[in-house]
Each structure stands twice: as structure tokens, then as C-alpha cells.
Symmetry: C2
Subunit: 224 residues, 2 copies
């Protein structure tokens, strides 16, 4: 009778007591969905294509995730979880050069280890964030403003040149994420089929040198 309570119970059981087969299948589906969503966007992705790639019947997807939008939400949740794990640490009184270098390094590494996640996020934003607006806009803005205030405090303390903190963050985002989102373009230019570790070290070095240098900071000694 109480269907709302029943649905909550179902959802909870689904999250916690999922069977072994179901968990394996869900993982296979999310992995396949990441590839398809990154390649074709939300509208451009068909459940048929995801099902084929996951080698599972299409109805299986809809049974697990209720709808196409539900599947997309699960993929985004996966991405945001990784995102938070990688960039949640933020020290207030730490050294600007050290902190910014670590951030650039982590950002480039993330582009290397999670190119699909990075690309899906990029496409979602380019399209105006029609799907994640409600549940991400606030978190993201809080995180950004927090970061910006730290940078501003460094500037006020005379530890680095004065720049618009938000624009500085965008510059770092743009130039690092570029390596994941525009890998096709970058690979053409470098005459390669795929990146290797050396390319990512070069990327980190170039971005760090220019950004830190431009701010009047020096790269931490152990990374020079």
C-alpha cells in the first residue's frame, strides 16, 4: 500500500544487498556506458549500443537502472566520486608553489587515468549541464569559492602576484583538462596514436613552469 516506503526499501536493498551477478553486471554496464556517453553524448547514446558493448540484453539495463537517465546518473555519480577523492584535500596555510604544483600534477594525472570520466564531464558542461545542474551546481560553486579564497589570501599576504583567483583556476582547469578532452587533437599534433607517460610528464612540466613562473613562484625543488 505504502508504495513510497516500498520504493525506498527497494532502493536501499538494491544499493546494499545486491547479488554477486547483479554487481558484476552493473559494473560491466557502467563501464560500457562510460565509453558510449563519452563518444556520443547523452542524447546520442542508445541503450542498444550500451547493451551490445556490455554483452548483456538491453532489458537488463532498464531493470537495473530504471531508465536511460538513471543509467546516466549512475555514471555521473561514479565520476564525481573519483573527482572528489582526487581533489578534496585543500590546505589553507600551505605554500602556494607546493600546493599549486601538486594540484596541477594531480589534475594531469587524473586526465591520464580517467580520460573517459573527464570527457563525459566536459561534454555535460559544454552542453550546458542540463542533467547535473540541480545536484552539482551548488557543490561545485562552494568548492570553487573556497579555493579562490585561499588563493586570494596568498595574494593578500604578498606570497604571489595578484590575479583574479577564479580565472587562475579556470586557466589551470582548461590547460590540464585539455589533455584528456582533446586527446585526439593533441595526438595528431604529436604524431602519436596514444599518449605515453613521457607526454604527461611534459604536460605537467610545461603547465607548472608557465603557471608558477607567471605567478612569480618557483617549482618545488624536488620536481625541478
Amino acid at each position: 500500500m505504502d508504495t513510497a516506503q516500498k520504493r525506498l526499501n527497494d532502493a536501499f536493498r538494491t544499493r546494499t544487498k545486491a547479488g554477486r551477478i547483479r554487481q558484476q553486471n552493473e559494473a560491466k554496464i557502467i563501464k560500457a556506458a562510460e565509453i558510449e556517453f563519452a563518444q556520443n553524448g547523452y542524447k546520442g547514446t542508445s541503450l542498444n549500443a550500451v547493451a551490445d558493448r556490455a554483452q548483456l540484453p538491453k532489458s537488463n539495463i532498464l531493470y537495473y537502472f530504471k531508465s536511460k537517465f538513471g543509467l546516466y546518473g549512475a555514471v555521473l555519480a561514479d565520476i564525481l566520486e573519483m573527482w572528489n577523492q582526487a581533489f578534496s584535500v585543500a590546505s589553507i596555510d600551505s605554500d602556494p608553489a607546493e600546493t599549486l604544483y601538486r594540484y596541477i600534477e594531480a589534475k594531469v594525472a587524473y586526465s591520464y587515468t580517467h580520460p573517459l570520466a573527464s570527457r563525459i564531464f566536459a561534454m555535460e558542461i559544454i552542453q550546458g549541464a542540463p542533467h547535473l545542474e540541480a545536484f552539482l551546481a551548488q557543490d561545485l560553486k562552494v568548492w570553487l569559492d573556497d579555493r579562490a579564497s585561499v588563493i586570494q589570501s596568498w595574494i593578500d599576504a604578498g606570497k604571489m602576484k595578484a590575479v583574479n583567483p577564479h580565472h587562475l583556476i579556470f586557466l589551470i582547469w582548461g590547460s590540464t583538462q585539455h589533455y584528456a578532452d582533446f586527446s585526439t587533437q593533441v595526438c595528431w599534433a604529436l604524431g602519436k596514436k596514444e599518449y605515453d607517460q613521457q607526454d604527461f610528464q611534459d604536460a605537467t612540466a610545461t603547465v607548472a613552469m608557465i603557471v608558477l613562473g607567471g605567478l612569480g613562484l618557483t617549482i618545488p625543488t624536488e620536481n625541478r
Copy 2:
């Protein structure tokens, strides 16, 4: 009988002697298609949506552009034409600071005046450039290598710090194009609905200061 020749004639006549109404309609369709492609990608865009936005019957689109792919090609051609007009000038013996500043300025301005074009291009690349690969890969690589060799000559002449020229170009691309491609994100962060001119001046100033500063160059006096 000679259908190949006939088709060539048709194509030529279409390009050159197009009627007034047809030209107007084609322009309306391309403008509508730009919005839809930027919002939903190639696969995610339907001719119905384009037709509705252009306020023209769907068959009209297929009559003018032969197919969905033909329409997309026309949109891309439009974008690349603007692109070339904006960035084709490249001087060999010019001043690095002056040249790089003008380039950053032009790139940010392009993001401001042609955000849709910039976004379509970005999505195409993110998706692996499945459509424009054949007819753009070569041109783009030639252009890039040419630019990189100029930067290398500046480095060899001791005019600026040594960096990987390709990565420097990517950094500029990434950080400037970011303002068009990720406008949603940037607007959230700045707490605005749309950019104004001041935001773009700030963007130009920040990117120029950091990039030129990081390379050991000074911003041209008239722009400080």
C-alpha cells in the same frame, strides 16, 4: 547519361547561382543547426529539431544539404572558414611577446564572438573527430607544426624560456577555449547568467600575464 558530370554541375550551380530564397533559408538552417549540434552533438541532433528551430519544413533541409551528414559538413565548413580568417596570420621574425599576446587576445575574442562554433569544434574533437578527421587532420597538423617551429626559433635565439612548443600551444588553446566551451561552469563560478566584456578582458589579462610571465616575456606596453 554522365551522372558524375551532372552531379558536379549541380553542385557548382548550387554553390554559385543559388537563389535568394534558398540562400536565406540555408543561412537560417545553418544557424539553427549550429545551436542544435552544439547542444546535443552530431548523433544527438535530429533534423526535426533543426527544422523546428529554423521554422522550415524538414524536407527543405534534406533538399538543400542532401543528408544529415551534409548539413553537419556545411556547419563545420562555416566554422573552419571563420577559424582560418581569425588565426591565419603568422609572422616569422616578429616579437614573441607581441605575437603571443595578439594570439591570446584573438583566441579569447573568438570564444566571445563565436561560442557555438567553438563548442561544436570542441565536441567534435572530444568525440575523437569521427567526422572531420579526413578533411581537417592534415591542415591542422601543418598549421600547428608551422607555429611550433616559429616558437622553437624564438627559443633557439634566446628570446624566451625553453618549453615544448606544442605543449605551449595546447596550454594557450586549452585555457582560452575554456571560456567558450565551459561557459556554463565559468558563469556558475562567477555568479552570472552570461559573460560581459569585462569578464573577457579579465580572461585575456590573466592568461596573457601568466603565459607571458611564465615564458620570461613582458606584456606589450600599450596593453598593460
